[in-house]
Symmetry: C2
Subunit: 113 residues, 2 copies
């Protein structure tokens, strides 16, 4: 069962911010981390991640700097900024509220057609 598009989209931003709240990271590594964290259920394409990173940078919620791996390949690292942490807190808050609403509505009738 594939995860619903809308939900994947809605979780992308808070997931990225969460990961960056632990340590600075870069695009390729973020995709790997998300894949592992989700047991392979979230397989982000790079082309979907980068625009989000760019948007978050435009909004000044994260900032970037160039770094390099051991073998010299360059990487663009991202660091969470204060306003990004605020955004993360809010989004997590919202997730909690909506999650609670949805789960509280659990149960119901058993007869369908």
């Amino acid at each position: 069962m594939a995860l619903a598009k809308g939900l994947v989209a809605a979780s992308a931003t808070p997931l990225i911010l969460s990961i960056l709240s632990h340590r600075d990271s870069y695009g390729y590594a973020i995709i790997e981390e998300v894949r592992k964290l989700s047991d392979g259920e979230l397989q982000w394409a790079d082309g979907m991640l980068y625009p989000i990173l760019h948007r978050l940078e435009d909004r000044q919620q994260i900032e970037s700097y160039w770094g390099a791996s051991e073998n010299g390949r360059k990487r663009k690292y991202y660091r969470l900024r204060k306003s990004g942490l605020k955004e993360l807190d809010e989004q997590r808050n919202n997730w909690n509220k909506l999650h609670a609403m949805l789960m509280n509505l659990k149960g119901g009738k058993a007869c369908f057609n």
Copy 2:
């Protein structure tokens, strides 16, 4: 603080399906119920709800029938169908997974700029 758009969007469908899993309802009442359930935080415009209902009906996850209120005003009621219940279960499942991921990632460094 307004709820993020993407999240509101992603929660709309499962919320509607959840409400209909308890009892048949119609557009106007669903908006009211959502407003109450969310303590006023989710104020859906009718123009956003109806297209979703129509889409769910197109997908055969819900079905509609005309009814009337006590005073004779007509209402279009919606009933959850089997495939809609299945969809609801899946979406709730997805919500749980992503919610768990997000919350497990909680915590992190404390220094920002």
